[in-house]
Amino acid sequence: MSDEVQIEVNGRNQAVPAGQTVRGLLDSLGLDPRLVVVELNRQVVRSTEQDEVELSNGDRLELVNFVGGG
């Protein structure tokens, strides 16, 4: 439907409402923006910009965080 856009999040296809912002996506996924870094089409999206940036068809997002590592 025209009021949905298809995106890929961490390697999975997902549909989100048209006009949804990055921050909106994080909220819908129940993720704490202070603990998650967003990469949109290979570009880091600063948390300060997450409200402005709207998702478009074919966007590829990577949501990452720190885990234990050596």
Partner: protein, 258 residues
Amino acid sequence: MDGDTLTIAGRQFTSRLIVGTGKYATHEQTLEAVQASGAEMVTVAVRRVNLDATASESLLHVLDPSAYVLLPNTAGCYSADEAVRYARLGREAGLSDWVKLEVLGDEATLLPDVAGLLEATEILVAEGFKVLAYTNEDLITALRLQDLGVAAVMPLASPIGSGLGLLSPLWIRLLKSRLEVPVIVDAGVGTASDACLTMEQGVDGILMNTALAEAERPVQMASAMRLAVQAGRLAYLAGRMPRREWGVPSSPATGMLD
């Protein structure tokens, strides 16, 4: 040892032991081990959020970033581009421009690809990163890394996770004697005597993970490593006795009875 501090990229550390946070049974054990180790800087990895997980406690809730310097690594990266990408994400996540740079060349040994390492180093230093570069024992590569402006050179003692200890004290002593930037031995230390022997070569510090996480009692081994690193450092500064192939009495030869 008062005043014998470690300075990397202008930041001063009292502890010369840096620990990783991987492979522990629980977040709690991770924290206990980190605390027992006395480390002030800990490495973390950058990975995808697990979207299936029911909100599990984040590592950052356990490791207070105000209490520890978090050092993001690029573990698992096999090209300069990939390592640069992870470094940038790590910077965003940690709000710090320090990175432990790994560019691996082989999955079986996890040995560094020094060509890729030099390439990634050049890019990241230009972007203002403080690069702590995981490398092999090669002096020539280490000198190039220093020329490129790394914050520290991190040669391996033996393969990552092998626990084989310091394979070549000679190479490590050589690196230390020729470099001005800090030399932090990274990978391969297996037990306390390995850490002690490594510090006795004069290096500035040690980074370890598996030796703690895979010990039968990780927290106890973390205490052992804290002491071993201090002991090795002190012994290096104290200046060891000469070696001899014969006996020398420690009690007076004079004043014996008739």
